[in-house]
Amino acid sequence: MTASVPSSARGPLELPVYPRPHGVHPPLDSPGYNSSRLRHPLRPLIPLPQSFTEVTGPLLGPGRVEASDADLTAGHPGGEPLGERIIVTGRVLDSDGRPVPDTLVEIWQANASGRYKHAVDDHPAPLDPNFTGAGRCVTDSQGRYRFVTIKPGAYPWRNHFNAWRPAHIHFSLLGRAFTQRLVTQMYFPADPLFSLDPIFNSIPDPQARQRLISKFEIDLTEPDWALGYSWDIVLRGRNATVFENEEGG
């Protein structure tokens, strides 16, 4: 499937088309999540034809990151943070199975006690002077990313009485095109808080929720050092052949 855009002398230019992933993402209007109440549009979204701007995007990986940015346990003069040291790794793919190489992956998270290093977080759990909780890396030619961090703690929030968020790491992906931009959260296996969390359960398809849960992997676990978790991230695919411009049409 391609969209044709007429061009002066060269015949039609072929743009990739990213089919819309209906039913995958949570609705902006999700009453179980109180903060969504005044922050979701009441009017229906207007379908936007995909043009040059939508099928391109910032290719900003290399040059914006240092190798050390992928290790959230390093870089603090006081030493290592408290908590369970973990490795989080996986691939960024599109829904057709193509790797997304050289793309920026940014993460942020709470410390092992469930406290964020942020002025707004007043959870009475200790800050850790050796943990900031932000990391970034760029995927390799196979779409692989890898972080070293500590397992974040669960934490309370004020959505409803006795509300607790399951432990999670925030992930931000630029992808290859504006259409692929994604911010999401990675969870850990068998968390007892899943069934109680309105953010996790805002995803309409229960099977799709499972895609946010990482897997413990003994093969990724490094002896006497850190537990390994794997998590692949799948962005929207493009159902198109991209033609070279002179040959298009």
Binding site: A134, T184, N245
Partner: protein
């Protein structure tokens, strides 16, 4: 192969730990000739500022080109030194954001005509489980806006106006508020 797409989740209240960049608002270096500033507020359904949002922009350069392999006209590095095409700015305590850029060139449209120049915008915030997508058009592109296929498809003129950044007295500054809900709600797109 058809892999299941990873669902979106909210950026939450602590996005400032991970997402802002020092140079985020600068789509072009600050001393770029012809640079413009786009500022505005992100407002909720009660008209209150949203102090924990992130606004991102993506656009063509003034010659209507992208340095990207999927542009069928060919990837073209901008003639503007340091042009990134991408902007990112968290809102401040007053819900305000600020992007420093240059005006994008016009792009060919699907009917053989031209589209009016525009910038694509993503809004993330606590309370938003998925991003919201909108566009910035320029209020002084009167003729181009009047024939743009996307703008003219929105028949309600008040709604259409929510997509248009108004030039300020200085001429190099444009105002673009984003109302997430209710009176004057910004037009959001399904892209």
């Amino acid at each position: 192969m058809n892999l299941g797409i990873t669902p979106s989740q909210t950026v939450g209240p602590f996005l400032a730990i991970g997402l802002p960049w020092d140079d985020g608002p600068f789509v072009v270096p600050p001393d770029t000739s012809g640079a413009i500033v786009i500022t505005g507020e992100v407002l909720d359904g009660a008209g209150e500022p949203v102090p924990d949002a992130l606004v991102e922009t993506w656009q063509a350069d003034p010659e209507s080109r992208f340095d990207h392999p999927d542009d069928p006209r060919g990837a073209a590095q901008s003639s503007i030194p340091g042009f990134r095409g991408f902007g990112r700015c968290p809102t401040n305590a007053h819900g305000e954001y600020r992007i420093i850029t240059v005006r994008p060139g016009a792009l060919p449209g699907p009917d053989g005509g031209m589209q009016a120049p525009y910038i694509d915008v993503t809004v993330f915030a606590r309370g938003m489980l998925d991003r919201a997508v909108t566009r910035i058009y320029f209020g002084d592109d009167v003729q181009a806006n009047a024939t743009d296929p996307v703008l003219t498809s929105i028949t309600d003129h008040a709604r259409r106006a929510t997509l248009v950044a108004e030039p300020q007295a200085s001429g190099s500054e444009f105002r673009f508020d984003i109302r997430l809900q209710g009176d004057g709600e910004t037009v959001f797109f399904d892209v």
